[in-house]
Amino acid sequence: MRTFRLTWRLPIARAALTVLAAVAVLALFGHQLAPQDPLAQDSAHILRGPGGAHLLGTDYLGRDVLSRLLAGTGLTVAGALEAVGAAMALGIVPGLASLWLGRFFEWSALRAVDALMTMPFTLFAIAAVGVLGNGLHQAMLALGVLLSPLFFRVTRAAALGLRQAPYVEAAELMGASRSRVLRTHIWSKVLPTVAVTTAQALATSLLTVASLTFLGLGVQPPAPTWGGMLATDLGYLGQQPWAPVLPGALIMLTVGALHLLADAVRDSGGASAGFAGAPEGGTAAAAAATGTTVRPAAAADAGAADPATAEPTAVQDREGRTNARISA
């Protein structure tokens, strides 16, 4: 929670959230906000420039570009959200469960994830659409499946170090149930990492939605989408060279805002993790004086935000102690 409060203090995060809020409004109310019917064709005014009745001009069928952009937001964003939602459901829950449900589940889940990670996004979505029929839902669910390893790995890595944390062990010693431990101790530490991943995954899937609709997959014409508009506008570059800029700019703005937000959350998380790594930073600096080589884990990752880096060091500590016992 502290991470999010810290995030809000960053101006860049506020700017990104403002952009995303605007996109959300467009997504929800785009149809109502559209000044004209986005599907209405007007053969008398095709490929008009901005101005007059059509603020951003018209396309090759005489449809209002502004209305199509506004109305197309919903479908594009909904597609991206659907994919990320599916990915989260398929990734986070097994990611956490893999730490508790025994070795067999852990092993199988890890192998399944490895297999999924080898698939390329767009090709897999095209194949899924080919098998399941052309529709945005099919394409997005396929994309969600492919994005789920990201959430699986990130959640698992973040929670892995926490499972051995003394305060988690302390809670278990109080007789706390697994779900209570998850809720009070683990979730708040995993959440910032998940938030970063979600923002990045949204950006990725937004781009994938755009590419798929650009290729004409998932959405049946004439329904407007950003990617679809980009595709049709490219066909009339001769007449309207500036037209693809409009949907392109919207995509860039949204994706950029998501990435900036992800960076901001990560940076705030790094600030809070900083105090734990500080003493190691000190030793790393001091190592120079002994003229010996510093273990890279201690030197480079001392202040790193990623909880996953904390884990190998812990393992080494444990091993170190075991070995001390053998050779003492």
Binding site: G281, A286, A287, A288, A289, T293, V294, R295
Partner: protein, 358 residues
């Protein structure tokens, strides 16, 4: 290769284990004069007006609570102050070389050759994927230009010198195969490989078990006796300092509050804080007793209360203690200094008055 004059006349012969008794001329190896260190980018002053010297073959202990400035002082001598910390005033001189004026290359020439250091967590200073012998021999080849065979022979000698059993065997071990005490000995061997003038041990035995700690302290004491090595030992534990050091410097809130020969300081402390430290330290008679504590807390880092910084916690505090903005370190007998205005009138109790002559 190092180009300082000290290296050309002082080093030969010192590498031999059996020779080299402590040099008769007790010149200053390290002289720190009026050192001030600021932290958090210069906003707060964590160490104020620290002056002391370490002579050849002498062992000096810096003792104090965490945050007292002892570690910062020692790190500034090593040139490894943490980011944001810097020496704002004063000088530190290592046998003629001004440490405060050194650039990065200058430090590189100094460290591991004329200046050795050992820290708390030995495992993090060794590469886990190389044998300890190789990590010890490599600097010898690079810095001293020894051949492969000579470097190996010398490394085994060094491992033996720090009290490791079967040094030839240990040479081929990886760090994870050795215990904490053995690793600390390996690091000491690395630190003395270049025949340094000064060995700095920053909480070097804090993480070790009691028995191993005693053994490592013995190794340090023996190296000092055999090689005339000057030793600067930093510890939060007065008892550890008492075991190995000739002279003790007591730090409190960034200042030296007392300086003197260990026996005298322990037997008759000249500063109330030293007395308080002695009361809370391990006595070693194993009797049940009411454990003493020092009331209150040390001032926040950078806070500079007027006059004596220990006054709020001191049982002997008087109006005079906080009357002046800063207190000076004043002489309190031969070789002793204290930062207490009431030093002359106070009669403080030591740990073992009956053993002053021992």
């Amino acid at each position: 290769m190092p180009a300082s004059p000290r290296d050309t006349d002082g080093a030969p012969g010192r590498g031999d284990l059996t020779a080299a008794p402590p040099s008769a001329a007790r010149e200053d190896v390290l002289a720190v004069d009026g050192l001030h260190i600021t932290v958090s980018g210069g906003r707060t002053e964590a160490v104020r007006d620290v002056s002391f010297t370490v002579r050849a073959g002498e062992s000096v202990g810096l003792v104090g609570e965490s945050g007292s400035g002892k570690t910062l002082t020692c790190r500034s001598v090593l040139g490894v102050l943490p980011p944001g910390c810097s020496v704002s005033a004063g000088a530190a001189t290592l046998a003629g070389t001004d440490l405060t004026a050194l650039d990065r290359r200058g430090w590189e020439r100094l460290r591991g050759v004329r200046l050795g250091a050992v820290f708390q967590d030995p495992a993090s200073y060794l590469n886990p994927s190389l044998t300890v012998g190789r990590q010890l021999a490599e600097p010898l080849r690079v810095r001293k230009g020894l051949s492969r065979a000579d470097a190996h022979r010398r490394a085994v000698e060094l491992l033996g010198a720090v009290g490791l059993h079967e040094p030839a065997e240990v040479y081929h071990r990886y760090p994870f195969e050795l215990s904490g005490g053995m690793l600390q000995r390996v690091l000491i061997a690395t630190a003395i490989a270049g025949d340094p003038d000064l060995l700095v041990a920053d909480e070097a035995t804090t993480a070790l078990d009691t028995v191993v700690q005693a053994e490592v302290l013995d190794v340090l004491a023996r190296l000092r006796a055999e090689r005339g090595l000057a030793l600067l030992l930093v510890s939060h534990d007065l008892a550890v300092v008492a075991e190995v050091c000739d002279r003790v410097l007591v730090f409190y809130a960034g200042e030296i509050v007392e300086d003197g020969p260990t026996e005298q300081v322990l037997a008759a402390p000249a500063h109330p804080y030293t007395e308080a430290l002695l009361r809370v330290a391990s006595i070693g008679d194993w009797q049940r007793r009411e454990l003493a504590v020092i009331p209150g807390r040390p001032p926040e880092a950078g806070a500079a209360p007027p006059g004596c910084r220990f006054a709020p916690r001191c049982a002997h505090a008087a109006a005079a203690c906080t009357a002046t903005p800063t207190l000076a370190l004043t002489d309190a007998g031969p070789g002793r200094r204290t930062r207490c205005v009431r030093a002359a009138e106070l009669d403080l109790t030591g740990a073992a008055p009956q053993e002053v002559t021992a």
